[in-house]
């Protein structure tokens, strides 16, 4: 395993990999950057039109989805990011990022829109308020054992989705299963925050199984 990781890092150092941007408008973008860099990715924070135009993959961090949306709209980044995702840019969103890559929000704040990318409807703050935020060990399709220690903070879940969306993990609440990790083509989304743990397997999955595949 260590040899394999070294090889990935080496390839990246040689410039064979994608330029990954972490959308740095608001939220825990530094944690995502650290996770990506620990995987050996060529990653940087991006917050201007020019910076975002130059990236080949994008990570949308956890944070407040209404705030990130408003900043993106006010600084004319909304259409740019929408178009790049539509054109197939590998994109990963966690928590607020999941909301922003959903085509629809069930309960948007007034006027709130998304970048879109996954044909699904999400429910914001679906698990409840902060006192209901939780950690759980989660098995995720495509990630080998042990389970991922998943941290859910005022997290959304997927309320409904098209058959084209692949469910990678779900959480059961009162006997009902709610998808919390999904993928459609080059876009990945999780309700939880791998970036605030030291486990980089989700980022590795994004880089190796999604970004490098496109």
């Amino acid at each position: 395993m260590p040899t394999f990781q070294f090889l990935i890092a080496w390839q990246n150092a040689a410039g064979n990999s994608l330029k990954v941007g972490v959308l740095a408008l608001q939220g825990d973008f530094r944690e995502h950057l650290a996770s990506l860099q620990a995987c050996g990715a060529d990653a940087a924070l991006v917050r201007t039109y020019e910076e975002i135009s130059g990236v080949e993959a994008l990570v949308i961090p956890g944070g407040e989805s209404t705030t990130i949306y408003k900043l993106a709209k006010n600084f004319d980044l909304l259409e740019l990011i929408r178009k790049k995702i539509k054109d197939g840019m590998p994109t990963y969103g966690s928590c607020a990022g999941m909301i922003l890559v959903a085509d629809k929000i069930l309960d948007p704040a007034s006027g709130q829109e998304t970048f879109g990318g996954i044909d699904m409807t999400v429910r914001r703050n679906a698990f409840g308020r902060q006192v209901d935020s939780f950690e759980v060990d989660l098995n995720i399709k495509g990630i080998s054992a042990p389970p991922v220690s998943a941290v859910f903070i005022r997290a959304p879940w997927v309320d409904s989705l098209s058959p084209r969306v692949e469910v990678l993990a779900s959480v059961e609440i009162d006997g009902e299963l709610h998808p919390v990790a999904v993928r459609q083509g080059s876009v990945l989304a999780t309700s939880f925050h791998p970036e605030i743990t030291s486990d980089n397997r989700i980022h590795k999955f994004f880089l190796e199984e999604i970004a490098e595949d496109i």
Partner: protein
């Protein structure tokens, strides 16, 4: 993929993680539903629900306490962003009440009249996370030792004078930098001098930062104030009286949000500073007699 779920709430990671999600954002004081909606529309990452903003507490005097639960619940119902509320220092029953309301974060705040002049709340006992004020590193680490999941530098609330916020931010980062330059065998004395637990002092010395998110508060009145705090190393800002005591709250609120994201871009800062109308009038901290300075509260 369905499985037996052993969900755990109220963990350190969940509480501190909540603050991570607020980073790069502005948390705004609001006293009613209308203000809360203006704050949400402007892009605030959270609102602080309270009955009187610090400037009014200062002007009107009297004992300042936790807000009416009715008022907090109305604001919770009106916005989808996190809602925070304040309790008096040491008043653990006010905290129990706010937790039962499902408030997202509790601010154990020097802006209210202290309920205990020796002890702060033992914050580990709660599922809801707490933010506490600090004027220096020792105070910040004492609060973290009691379970605070987020720290804000205190500044001097309700003044519109940013000088104390500057002093406290500089002080905290200077003291952190000093620890990182010390030999390991010097950290015992450093802990004694900071009046903080050795384990936390050692952690800060190794990582070069607080173990929790650090916001700035107290006296921030303009987008430039907010950006300056970010350049001084704050993870985000609280704006209290500065927004709704100004001429055009909606515009000023939106401008502060933009300034905190593009805090190093002077062109954006110039743009967002244009035409905001009158800033809050303000009081110079130097004109306030020491016993009336809120930052002196907390120990």
């Amino acid at each position: 993929m369905s499985q037996d779920h052993n969900k755990t709430t109220g963990t350190g990671r969940v509480k501190r993680g909540m603050a991570e999600m607020l980073k790069g954002g502005v948390i705004m004081d609001v006293v009613n539903v209308e203000q809360a909606k203006i704050a949400e529309d402007a892009g605030a990452v959270a609102v602080m629900a309270l009955e009187r903003v610090p400037a009014d507490i200062r002007a009107q005097g009297g004992v300042a306490r936790m807000s009416d639960p009715d008022m907090i619940e109305k604001i919770q119902a009106a916005v989808s962003i996190p809602v925070m509320a304040k309790v008096r220092i040491g008043h653990f029953v006010e905290a129990q009440i706010l937790e039962s309301l499902g408030v997202d974060y509790i601010d154990e705040s020097e802006v209210l009249t202290p309920a205990d002049f020796e002890n702060h709340i033992s914050k580990w006992d709660f599922t809801v996370p707490f933010v506490c004020g600090a004027t220096n590193l020792g105070e910040a680490l004492r609060r973290i030792n009691e379970g605070a999941a987020m720290i804000r530098s205190k500044g001097e609330a309700g003044t519109g004078d940013v000088s104390n916020a500057t002093t406290h931010m500089r002080k905290i980062s200077q003291e952190i930098r000093r620890l990182t330059s010390m030999r390991e065998d010097e950290l015992y004395v450093a802990a004694k001098e900071l009046q903080a637990p050795y384990e936390l002092v050692k952690e800060v010395a190794q990582t070069g930062k607080l173990p929790v998110v650090l916001f700035t508060a107290g006296g921030i009145a303009t987008p430039a104030d907010a950006a300056m705090m970010m350049q001084l190393g704050a993870d985000g800002v609280f704006v209290g009286s500065g927004i709704f005591k100004s001429g055009n709250p909606a515009a000023r609120a939106a401008a502060c949000v933009k300034a905190v994201t593009y805090y190093t871009d002077a062109k954006v800062l110039a743009d967002v500073s244009r035409g905001l109308g009158e800033a809050m009038v303000g009081i110079n901290v130097a004109d306030i007699p020491v016993p009336h300075r809120l930052a002196e509260r907390g120990w």
